[in-house]
Amino acid sequence: IDAEFAETFAAVQEQFSHMVEVLFPGGRGRLLLQEPASEDEPGGVSVEVKPARKLGKKLQLLSGGERALVAIAFLMALVLSRPCPFYILDEIEAALDDVNIGRLVQLLRDYRERTQFIIITHQKRTMEAADVLYGVTMGPDGGSAVVSARMAEEEIEREERSRTKG
């Protein structure tokens, strides 16, 4: 188990540093394997990130958006080293600004050949990454239904029009 873990850890570690450079231009990041706490417990994995121009910090002091970006870097490092057959990501870009949503969209496009991404979002920007778009609406009887995204967008526009006229 140790040799296998060591190999996987090395791959994830390398990819994580690379992903941090992509998501934090001018920044640096790394994963570190801690000393085992006791005989029977393996060491944990700690994370260090230094955004450009700033001192390296405890994760806790980073901003909401920066912490989300570090988590996305870790996720993508797993995708690149040991991909699962599919990923479901529910509004993971909610805390990101437009530029960082753009960087995420670019990553999804770059790695769509490696695995399947199913993304739930409200951001128009994220929709640009889609190969296929699905819409979910709440029907008149109070039950959910899946419609073509065209219809979902029309419903959103219809609600919007009735809100501004109302």
Partner: protein
């Protein structure tokens, strides 16, 4: 291997049989607040054997069964079927598609099946562990959970890497 079809019936806010057909690549799901998007993510987590109600945002396992609405009576059964593309043989089964299904009635007992034949929970869990979809299901990040994905303790991060190994 990828997720080819997701079918829900009587699961959370989906009273009627509803199916999404997925392709490889990037699928994006949109819709108004409260329309049922995150319930679809919960459906996948639940079908793969989730035992804790709070992971699918309920207080008891009955909360996954459609409880009724203004226009419809409550459902008696919640059912979710995942169909995976297995043309590459990633799953150790002889078929090009592999179906994993979970069903639960008001009496509480869950019923699992693989390729439509009844099996136990451990069979589903073992089948999925073989392709990196272990108990922690790191590949499904729920709403508001992206920071928690990394904010756990160092041991948690080690587990995530071990599962991927």
């Amino acid at each position: 291997m990828h997720l080819k079809r997701l079918r829900v019936r009587g699961f959370k806010s989906f009273p009627r049989a509803t199916e999404l057909v997925f392709e490889p690549g990037v699928a994006v799901i949109i819709g108004p607040n409260g329309s049922g998007k995150s319930n679809l993510a919960d459906a996948v987590v639940w079908a793969l054997g989730e035992q804790s109600p709070s992971t699918v945002r309920g207080s008891s396992m009955q909360d996954v069964i459609f409880a009724g609405s203004d226009g419809r009576r409550a459902s008696a059964v919640a059912e979710v079927e995942l169909v995976f593309d297995n043309a590459d043989g990633a799953l150790p089964l002889p078929t090009d598609e592999v179906s994993v299904m979970r069903r639960v009635g008001r009496d509480g007992g869950s019923h699992y099946s693989i390729n439509r034949s009844t099996c136990r929970l451990t069979d589903v869990v073992e089948l999925m562990a073989g392709v990196g979809l272990g108990r922690e299901l790191h590949s499904i990040i729920g709403q508001g959970r992206v920071e928690a994905f990394l904010a756990g303790r160092p041991e948690d991060r080690r587990n995530q890497i071990e599962e991927a190994a």
